[in-house]
């Protein structure tokens, strides 16, 4: 496969994984918690490196998973102890992220991970960092990691689809019929953490948020059915990745940044044009109502 094709594949895998997980975040009104986790994952990665002294995927996934859950847990703790929820998220993520950046600067000589890289990602380097087993080259390791995380996410969603769906739309009923709502919450948070860390290398901490939230929000404006929303969201994720790659190529700018920008443009167009929940749709609906009454 060519250099460009690997990058498109990587970007698309990020788009699909984030797009699917992101739908649930939007339905559960936890978008900012995902934003928080995507920042704190940095601390997880730095700590994982300082403990294991390796930059291998599995350590990163474990470290990020633990810190991601810790973030969700701390926010929950502050929330129940009376801090209003937006401030709880703000305090937790900024402090953990700041701590991560300080560690990173303090051990800068040892960690082969610079802050800008962590923040913005370096998808252009992905194709060169290949996975080699027994001397056979198996393609970029990021693609493998993203693929595994995607399969893991899909399996978890498939297994717990009904539970996640009910607890997202009606948490009170879910609790009443005996669904372990807390478990589902932390399951989703783990999915967000590992998806974030897998996408981290390619698109960086803050643009992961764009890939998590924007496709889901766009899909939310287009349909009322969860399954279709998941499909549309995954598709928009891929479309932003591919569009972003070619836009970046054309203007010679950051690929990750233009993926986020394209996703934003798609959202903007949908926001105006969506037949049911868009601005135009609403104007048309209002006009037809006033036409009927006049």
């Amino acid at each position: 496969m060519s250099y460009g094709a690997w990058i498109i594949l990587t970007g698309s895998l990020v788009g699909v994984s984030c797009g699917i997980v992101g739908c649930f975040l939007i339905l559960r009104k936890m978008a900012m918690l995902a934003d928080a986790i995507s920042h704190t994952v940095l601390l997880g990665i730095v700590l994982a490196y300082l403990v294991s002294h390796s930059l291998e995927g599995i350590y990163m996934l474990v470290g990020a998973g633990i810190i991601g859950l810790l973030t969700a847990f701390l926010v929950q703790v502050l929330d129940t102890s009376g801090v209003q929820s937006d401030a709880a998220i703000g305090v937790v993520f900024t402090s953990l992220f700041a701590f991560g950046v300080i560690l990173l600067s303090a051990f800068a000589g040892q960690v082969h991970l610079d802050v800008n890289h962590a923040l913005m990602g370096e998808i252009t380097f992905i194709p060169w960092d290949t996975l080699t087993i027994n001397g056979i080259e198996l393609g970029p390791s990021a693609v493998w990691m993203l693929g595994i995380v995607l399969i893991l996410n899909l399996t978890l969603i498939f297994l717990f689809y009904k539970e996640i769906k009910i607890s997202s739309f009606d948490p009170a009923m879910a609790t009443a019929i005996g669904i372990p709502v807390v478990f589902i919450h932390y399951l989703l948070m783990s999915m967000v953490s590992i998806t974030t860390v897998a996408s981290f290398d390619s698109v960086g901490a803050i643009l992961v948020v764009a890939m998590l939230i924007v496709p889901g929000a766009t899909a939310y404006l287009l349909t009322d059915r969860l399954l279709i929303m998941l499909l549309i969201s995954a598709f928009i994720g891929v479309a932003s990745a591919v569009g972003g790659y070619y836009a970046a190529l054309a203007w010679n700018v950051s690929i990750a940044g233009s993926m986020a920008s394209i996703a934003g443009l798609i959202f903007g167009a949908t926001f105006i044009l969506s037949p049911k929940h868009g601005l135009m749709g609403k104007v048309l609906a209002r006009r037809s109502i006033s036409a009927q009454h006049s």
Binding site: S95, V101, L207, I213, V214, W251, N252, M259
Partner: protein, 448 residues
């Protein structure tokens, strides 16, 4: 270490930077208090991230690094982002948190695109633009600090002059509108003030962590007071303190970016407030809970003693009760019961009749009578809550029958009598050695 510190502090540039970051801390703490109370803390986060493309565009248009134009660019794109967030919330079914996350990440992504574009452009001396991501107070020069301090002081003066209006608007928007305040203008003004506070902090703290400067001092101050004027002052103080600590620490170790150090300093102050603040802090809450539990346990044992004595007196049974009797009346762990019995004995409220049997003393009878009467009146009140709505009780821990108007109290007592819940043991007669058990006689006494 100390020599280093003194040397660093003698440096004129460091003094400027320190002065700037202290003013910055005050301004963001003060405005953060308003953002927090309006539940808009995370909008500050969005504004900070959204400032990045504004800074880049200002650089592209102006050509070199200029703090003034950067502030203008950042403020404009921050305001545009805020406007987008509000539009998305009002015109679609997307909720606030999603809208914030969406605008924040897309603006930041676009900012990164522009940043890479600038890096390749011919006047690629983009030195300083990277500092906006994590903040580097050391990179501030005299003119930067003058602009930052000027804006911070202007923000503080505006807030001081319009304090009353902003306060009213923050707590009760409807009322503010009702008495004729221009709420639309105030909203726009407050947003502009917050954006300006965010923008002047960008170079020292960075876009990613600027939100903490708005949120952390304000939420810490919230623990210490319930009054907005005090909260604003405390938040300003905490902001100033963390700004100062962060700047000094990061100027001592040159590899440390300033923003994260300031944020960690602010977070430590927050944790201190969370744990030790009077009234709201975890320690004082824990103490309060402990005291309440202790009191409830003591009252529970006393009331059980009263109930048992009452039953024994009316049926002519033996006065003297074992621990099993008490546990059967109101379940309690053995250790806790033992401890409470010991306390009550020490207070002279109960005494041992034989090895393991307890009875009320005359003093104990009076106190347990009061407790029982109070609790039974409360039970009666709960049964007829609607009839006694005039009492307007909020929390049940404030229930004290002596505070109830006498007419209502006698009404309550009538209902208590209907349900046969009137305490039938007269503590005075009990003390005199007799036991009051005659129902009709009791009623007669009570009416008198």
């Amino acid at each position: 270490m100390w020599n280093d510190l003194i040397l660093t502090l003698q440096d004129a540039n460091t003094q400027w930077v320190l002065f700037g970051s202290i003013l910055l801390g005050i301004a963001s703490g003060v405005l953060g208090s308003f953002a927090l109370l309006r539940k808009q803390s995370l909008i500050g986060d969005a504004m900070a991230h959204a400032a990045l493309p504004g800074i880049c565009i200002a650089f592209l248009l102006y050509g070199t690094k200029s703090i003034g134009w950067f502030l203008v660019g950042a403020a404009i794109s921050g305001l545009i982002a805020t406007y987008f967030i509000q539009t998305i919330i009002t015109h679609s079914r997307i909720k606030e948190d999603t809208a914030i996350g969406l605008v924040l990440s897309v603006f930041f992504g676009f900012g990164i695109v522009l940043l890479t574009k600038i890096a390749q452009s011919e006047n690629g001396n983009q030195s300083g633009l990277d500092d906006f991501i994590f903040g580097q107070a050391a990179s501030l020069v005299g003119t930067d600090v003058k602009v930052i301090s000027g804006v911070a002081i202007a923000l503080l003066i505006i807030t001081f002059l319009l304090f009353k209006e902003l306060k009213l608007f923050t707590f009760d928007r409807q009322f503010a509108k009702g008495i004729g305040l221009p709420t639309g203008v105030l909203n726009a003004l407050l947003m502009t003030l917050i954006v300006s506070a965010v923008v002047i902090g960008l170079q020292a703290v960075g876009v990613v962590l600027m939100a903490a400067m708005l949120i952390t001092p304000a939420i810490s101050a919230r623990y210490w007071t319930d009054r907005l004027d005090r909260m604003v002052i405390i938040a300003g103080g905490i902001g100033a303190l963390s700004g100062m600590l962060g700047t000094i620490l990061s100027s001592l170790a040159s590899s440390l970016p300033t923003g994260p150090v300031i944020v960690v300093a602010a977070t430590l102050i927050f944790i201190f407030s969370l744990v030790f603040a009077p009234q709201r802090g975890l320690v004082s809450k824990g103490l309060k809970l402990y005291k309440l539990r202790k009191e409830v346990a003591r009252e529970t044992v006393l009331q059980s003693m009263f109930d048992l004595t009452e039953t024994a007196a009316t049926t002519g049974g033996e006065i003297g009760f074992s621990k099993d009797d008490l546990v059967e009346r109101r379940p309690m762990s053995d250790r806790k019961l033992q401890a409470n019995l010991a306390i009550l004995q020490k207070e002279g409220l109960i005494t041992k009749t034989s090895v393991d049997l307890w009875k009320l003393t005359s003093k104990g009878a009076i106190e347990s009578y009061e407790i029982t009467l109070n609790n039974r009146l409360f039970e009666t009140y709960l049964m007829y809550e609607m009839k006694f709505a005039n009492l307007q009780l909020v929390a049940n821990d404030s229930w004290n029958y002596k505070e109830i108007p006498s007419r209502t109290l006698s009404e309550l007592k009538e209902y208590m009598e209907i349900h046969d819940r009137t305490p039938k043991l007269d503590p005075e007669l009990f003390a005199a050695g007799g036991i009051y058990s005659d129902q009709s006689d009791y009623q007669r006494r009570e009416v008198n």
